[in-house]
């Protein structure tokens, strides 16, 4: 059980003040609407009105730690040959304020391959310097299905500090030392009452019940394994996919990137930028993409999340955030696909 000592409450009216305090040492990021598109941006120093409209962002907070495009190094050539320079890395540590539990879990999932056999310095420096302040959902979307994936709208497993909406106040629960330090630093917080705790418990239970979209994850890995060669199934499932990058780019767990050099005269930069297994030119750089037909590419996406990731990291690489359903131009719905996976093995295999 969590000790009450680790919990405080703060008035919603004081959130802007609190962010102001944190913003002195950390670079605070909050949701912002940019031409109607909810995304993450540096806090402007005053506005906390996002709390009135924010459900989740279109662009996931993954983009803060794994930017759509980033410079890896620059280079130039002179009489002594080529010289490399690393980009300046003096950016202040980032605090992501009001990250949703699904997206916090997404970051935990992205961190796995980046800290596996090879440690990716670009991602890890940013991620390890970051502080996640979670905000539990009270109004999940109809596309959300986090509760089917060991998560939930108020899940506090992957954040440093968790906020729960209890009316005029937020309950603040410190989950890590980083989170505790945030509470300790401020005098804006008050002690939590038993009524606050009861209210928070009630909010959590009510919100869990509001997540109505469900999938059964049990046995999915095995079904995908046995149905891998079921070409007819995958072809049918993939028919309406247009092979764009929306569902992968905006997925909180997808992390594929491409690397390109820009060379102008004798100097240039190496960039990495988001890549997607949906694209026909994915993995084109060594030779060819072995997944010429789109059903193979789509199968890769599904299997990577629900079969290969569990094999490699013991977790499904999907947090049920629902972006891929909400944002898909053709309403390709992964929950329908996972629900309709064939149970019998080898109907008509690719090879037959």
């Amino acid at each position: 059980m969590k000790k009450v000592a680790d919990s405080k409450r703060i008035s919603k009216k004081d959130i802007a003040k609190l962010l102001g305090e944190w913003n002195r040492e950390l670079n605070v990021f909050v949701p912002r609407r940019d031409e109607g598109v909810a995304t993450w941006a540096k806090w402007d120093g005053k506005d906390a009105s996002f709390l009135n409209w924010y459900r989740n962002t279109v662009v996931p907070p993954k983009a803060i730690f794994l930017p759509p495009m980033e410079e890896m190094f620059s280079f130039h050539k002179d009489g002594n040959g080529y010289h490399l320079e690393l980009p300046a890395s003096d950016e202040p540590k980032k605090l992501i304020f009001s990250i949703r539990p699904c997206d916090a879990k997404g970051l935990a999932i992205v961190t796995m391959p980046f800290s596996d056999a090879y440690e990716d310095p670009y991602y890890l420096v940013k991620r390890n310097g970051g502080v996640l302040v979670g905000l539990g959902c009270i109004n999940p979307c109809d596309s959300c299905f986090c509760t089917s994936l060991d998560g939930g709208p108020t899940d506090l497993a992957n954040v440093d500090l968790m906020l729960t909406d209890i009316g005029d106040n937020f309950l603040m629960e410190a989950i890590t030392d980083k989170g505790k330090a945030l509470i300790d630093k401020t005098s804006l917080v008050e002690a939590v009452t038993e009524a606050d705790e009861a209210r928070a418990k009630d909010v959590k239970e009510t919100t869990y019940a509001k997540v109505i979209r469900k999938i059964a994850t049990e046995g999915i890995k095995e079904k995908l394994l046995s149905g891998f060669d079921n070409k007819d199934y995958w072809e049918k499932i993939a028919a309406k996919c247009i092979s764009c990058g929306i569902c992968t780019f905006l997925c909180p767990t997808c992390y594929c990137f491409d690397i390109n050099d820009e060379l102008v005269k004798k100097q240039g930069c190496r960039f990495r930028s988001w890549d997607s297994c949906a694209f026909p030119i994915y993995t084109k750089m060594p030779m060819e993409n072995p997944r010429v037909e789109k059903w193979r590419r789509l199968r890769q996406k599904v299997c990577h999340k629900y079969e290969f990731y569990p094999m490699n990291f013991d977790v499904i690489a999907c947090t049920g955030c629902g972006r891929c359903i909400r944002l898909c131009p053709v309403n390709w719905d992964i929950t329908q696909v996972l629900t309709s996976l064939p149970t019998e093995t080898k109907v008509k295999t690719e090879k037959s």
Binding site: D34, E35, G36, V37, T39, W53, R55, V58, V59, P68, M69, C141, D142, S143, A239, K240, I242, S243, C244, G245, I246, F249, L250, D258, N260, E262, F271, S273, W274, S276, F279, P280, I281, K284, M285, I325, R326, L327, P329, V330, N331, W332, D333, T335, Q336
Partner: protein, 321 residues
């Protein structure tokens, strides 16, 4: 004819086409998995036909699937979609005899994002959305809200000249007239036209700074039928494949030139964009330029040479002679 009657006729016709072997495959719409959405239904199975629907949310331009499917195809097409099919026929990407066009006279589609903005609520928080003549009724928290179509249909639907398919094999219902919404349709574009070149440049810099290069705009577009897009070329690499605003803008400018005379203003590029870049402000302007200077409207004459592949010795510019 009401949507329900059109739907029944559609199902009967589609089923007959499959049963009589006149087509191998049907492309239409079925209910989407979220409120106020539909999703493409591509099927060779007549058991699926009962799922076909028509209505104010049939947003996709299904012509985009024609070039990747084999056999004879029955396809549901609104006015703009039928023009895209004709354009593909002109470009020899589709053989006329291999498609059965099931035309839908289209009174304009409801842009749910406009209703979200008007009501300050998200799609899934709305109870009901319905079209009633020149009004759209949106119910939220049990309260009925009436909006004129000029505020609630897609911009491209408001500027649609040919809502009834001109090229079809089966027409569901009676021809319908264009919505009187030209000025609402042009509002964003007119605003840009009034701006100075510097202001326009800054506007597009800001817009394309949001672009994540997902290529949904290209991939939903039936006019973007290249086997390999120029941005996917690596030898030579025409554009660095990074989502930097300059590259994003160049991609879109070149795409716009490539689809000139093919773009039927179906609005799919703008609708598909997950970061709300007003792409139609580029494509519709190009559509009007092609119309004004070359008297050419995409996909209105299947016998005509494709716009970008034709010239005339009487052309005003002498470089072409």
């Amino acid at each position: 004819m009401k949507d329900m009657e059109m739907e029944q006729k559609l199902r009967n016709e589609a089923k007959a086409l499959l049963e009589q072997g006149k087509v191998d495959c049907i492309i239409g719409f079925e209910p989407g998995s979220l409120k106020f959405t539909t999703t493409p239904l591509i099927t060779r199975d007549k058991g699926d036909i009962e799922r076909l629907v028509i209505g104010p949310f049939i947003v996709n331009n299904l012509a985009v699937f024609l070039t990747e499917l084999e056999g004879r195809i029955g396809i549901v097409a609104k006015g703009c979609d039928s023009r895209s099919i004709v354009s593909l026929i002109q470009d020899n990407k589709v053989v006329r005899e291999d498609v059965v066009i099931i035309g839908v006279p289209c009174p304009g589609l409801i842009d749910v994002s406009k209703i979200e903005t008007l009501l300050g609520r998200d799609r899934d928080e709305l109870d009901e959305i319905a079209r009633e003549g020149d009004k759209v009724i949106a119910t939220v928290d049990g309260k009925r809200n009436e909006f004129p179509v000029t505020e609630t249909l897609f911009d491209n639907c408001l500027g649609c000249e040919l809502p009834t398919p001109q090229e079809y094999d089966i027409l569901l219902g009676e021809p319908t007239s264009p919505v009187a919404g030209k000025s609402a349709s042009q509002a964003k574009i007119d605003q840009l036209k009034e701006a100075t070149p510097q202001q326009r440049w800054e506007f597009w810099e800001e817009q394309f700074s949001r672009c994540i290069k997902c290529y949904a705009c290209r991939n939903v577009c039936p006019a973007c039928f290249c086997q390999r897009c120029f941005v996917d070329e690596s030898e030579p690499q025409w554009l660095l494949p990074v989502p930097r605003w300059q590259e994003n803008l160049m991609f879109q400018v070149i795409r716009n030139i490539h689809v000139a005379g093919r773009c039927t203003d179906c609005g799919e590029c703008e609708r598909a964009c997950p970061v709300n870049i007003p792409l139609r402000s580029l494509t519709r302007e190009m559509y009007d330029i092609v119309d004004e200077f070359f008297h050419y409207k995409a996909g209105t004459d299947k016998e005509a040479s494709p716009f970008l592949a034709s010239y005339d010795t009487t052309d005003a510019e002498d470089f072409i002679r």
